[in-house]
Amino acid sequence: MFMIMKNILKIHIHYVVSFFAAVLVLLGLLLMMGEASNNEVFCSDILSARRIVLAPILCLAGYLLLIPAIMWRGSK
């Protein structure tokens, strides 16, 4: 996938990796969403593993992935 995007679309590798980083962050935020508590019930799903374990780890991975994306020296 990396190579395909790099070679076929002729996009610099920085942008390819940045794109994946953004996807990870967005995926994390999407997984973090869901039902909410209200005046009638306390919704225990807001503390489910999907929303407070998996989702934040994906977000963090996305934000950290952007660092190598910026620092990559690339091939001239």
């Binding site: 935020l29 969403m33 909410a36 503390l47 934000y63 952007l66 910026i70 620092m71």
Partner: protein, 1025 residues
Amino acid sequence: MQQVRFKFVDRIVGWLVFAIAATVYCLTVEPTASLWDCSEFIISAYKLEIGHPPGAPFFMLTANLFSQFASDPSQVAYMVNIMSALLSAACIMLLFWTVSHLMRRLVCGYGRVERVQDLLLIEGSAMVGAFACMFSDSFWYSAVEAEVYAYSSFLTALVFWLILKWEDEADSPDSNRWILLISYLIGLSIGVHLLNLLCIPAMVLVYYFRKTKKTTMWGVCKALLVSFILLGGILYGLIPGVLWLAGRAELLAVNLLGLPFNSGLVGFILLLSILIVWGLWRLRGTGRLVLSCVTLILVGFSCYGVILVRSSANPPMDENSPEDVFALKRYLNREQYEDSPLFYGPTYKAKPEYERKGDFMVAKRKEGETVYRKSEKTGRYMDVGKKIEYVYDQNMLFPRMHSSRHARAYEQWMGGVKGPTMKENIDFFVSYQLYYMYIRYFLWNFVGRQNDIPGNGETEHGNWITGIDVIDGLLLGCDMNKLPADLKENKGRNVYYALPLLLGLLGIFWQRKKGELGRNQSLITFWLFFMTGVAIVLYLNQTPLQARERDYSYAGSFYAFCIWIGLGTGAVVSVLRRLKVGERTSVAAGILLCLLVPIQMGCQTWDDHDRSGRYTCRDFGQNYLESAPKEGKPIIFCNGDNDTFPLWYMQEVEGKRTDARVCNLSYASADWYIDQMLRPANDSPALPLGWDTEDYSYGNNDAVRIEPELYDRVLALYRQEPHTLKRILGENPFDMANILRHWVFNRTDGMSEEDVRLRQYVKALACGREDEWETLDIRCVPTDTAFVMQKPGEKMPLSFVGMDMLLKSDLLILQLLVNDDETRPLYLTTSMNIDERPYLKPHLVLEGLLFRIVPSYTKETETRVNVERLYENIMENFSYGGLSAGNVYADYDVRKMAYGHQHKMATLIDSLLEQGDNERAMAVVRKWQQEMPPQVVPYDAAALSMLRCLYHTEHYTEADTLARDMLSRSFGWLGWTETLRAERRRGSAFTEYQWRCIMEKTISILYNYDRKELLSAVLPEKVLK
């Protein structure tokens, strides 16, 4: 020596420094949550709930990862603390590399490191600087707890180090990547703490000095100007601008097009992304670089998305509920806190200006931007009016005494204020804000610290000292030889004889003597030091009587000073070189000599930064919760940080006592908090308030006046028309239920329209304003003596005598008293200032760390005690945080909470003795001695109950020892306060009074139990002399 070899050695030694720092911090880290905000941060990390403004989403994400390594919930806090420890250790490593970079430039210029002694000097001085910072007071404090300051220091150190990396590579074609990375990290750091932005000026100077061929004064000024524009641009332009645009998009989508909430925000982000991609595609060269930097800052800032998403889920902790873009903006602007004027504004004495409007005078006001609030009912954002700013009459430039709430505190600090004139204003700025709240902290770190007691200018509380008695005696105006043992043995007493300060000053001089390169470097370091120190002082504009010491805010500035301490090694070595003992010998000797400075610091600071084995925050928080019974889903009213956050921590993180509802009354004036109280949380059902949104929404019923003079008039009206009035104002006019229903909330349910109008008329009539009854919306309490009906015929009297008004939080308590069917017990923390709610005072019964609010009342001034419950709690339900180990460090806040427990124990001992239950009284004494030994928490006045009990139960030897100890400590304190210089006496009057009381009471106990021998043995030799 090859450059490659230098890089290798430098890297290895840097990691070695990291390993040492990580070991030091991991050994001393707190094994559970810490006091103040740490509990909040741990909850926000582990369960992604929302902490206080302005939030720390990137901290949440990182700390959440660390919390995953916890084997069970009780280890979560430890793991988050470990994160702080590791980040701080990394920060020390970066300091090492920063000093070694600067030193290399000073010693070898842009050339290679050729000689072994140069390598030695570079590495040695970097080690001196790094270790000095590692062992420094303020930095270590943040390194071992779950606060954002460790993380923020790390990011500051990182971006500063990165700009130096850029300097190394500035001529290579892809050096821009360092600039891009810095932009990104600055964006991310907004999601940790704003402090990071303050190193922009120093970084711009690095850029300027590297890029310009000839540095000039004017060039430096221009560079600084650019840096301030950058700083202001990000803080006041970019971030608020983007949020403003997002707000417009949101209004368009939701209010105009009727789309769901946050759809406008999503649309805006999509549009912005498309624009950016298009821009990056079209632009080349500098334009692309600038756009990339701005984009990366925004990408970093985008971590606030986590806050929006998580707040929308309505978790139990959801401070300010920033779930839409308008609320997020208020959250980021920290609108919950008072802001302080910076350049021009009112003084503390300023009164609102009035202007004539028709027949009335009204307060002059300026209207700011429109305030929008989300309304779930209509699915729209409601315009709730403009942000109002009052116009004040007394304004001045650079106002430093600005808070009207602190009028007395300003005057006390200044010893009287006339104007405030500009001279007084500047005096206050220099003597309090600059000296007391910054320079004192700076000197704590590099000269010495008197003790860990928070100070407000007193001689015995938290001053800076040198450790040289003669100088300290002059500084403090007292005789240091007569210092009481309590102060001498305080673990927070750290003295360095000003050696780190001197070494740092030498570093500055030596750096400046190294030609243009040195002068440029010192200017860069200075701006880092200034922006993270004095600039924060200017910005915060602090008032006296801060809740705690604030040295942690300035860790960045102390970090910068440690750079100079490192460079000071160069100065020492250059002095030693003059002794002509050989190049390498003088370098080695100089380094060893300088290393003694941080080692001496570490020997002093270790004992008061070693938090291992301390579980007080966890246990004391649990004790609050355990004070309430397990049945009935109790409600606990609390007030401050340390009687709220530890309780939340126990519930949210460790899952303890989730049946109890903690309700912080200082938040209860805010609509978002009452929203949360109306929702169930964990196992605790919602508060049975029965309020509608309008009853408590922004600006409604914030305070209701108490009008005692209405009492007679209302009664008279009732006498005239009993049937009608009973129908429209309730059976009894002074029943709290009726007051809330008819006088405060103007409820209309179950009333005919005619009656509602009649009620309005009657109320206006009672107020003597019947002419305008149709337009009036009267909301008040028509008496100062009301009651709550309990069971039929049983009244709970409430007296508002001496109060002007009831706040929203009072209304909340009263509504619960009215609605309560005695199934949900109400509790109040004992740490609360009960004088703020005097009507509850006669209804309190002590049961542990909580008072229960009961219908019956007492006329005595002393609070009642439920001896059985209190005994059970103290002896069985409470834990005492590992203080029994004897070698745990109890800092001031921990001691304060421990004294809270001891005072309850003393009350219990007294009550048991009164009942003649000597056996159980002695059991409490033993528990106390075992759980909180005096070497950890020295006895205070509460221990007199222990003394009485020991004599009463005829434990004479033990009692005599205790009495002798109490007397000798009192004599120590009183003997020392005698030596204070007259003008410093007043500040210590309270301490003196406390110990005088302890002495007198001890003596009277000795008389009571006929301990004449002891008295004659102690008194003549100590007092009569």
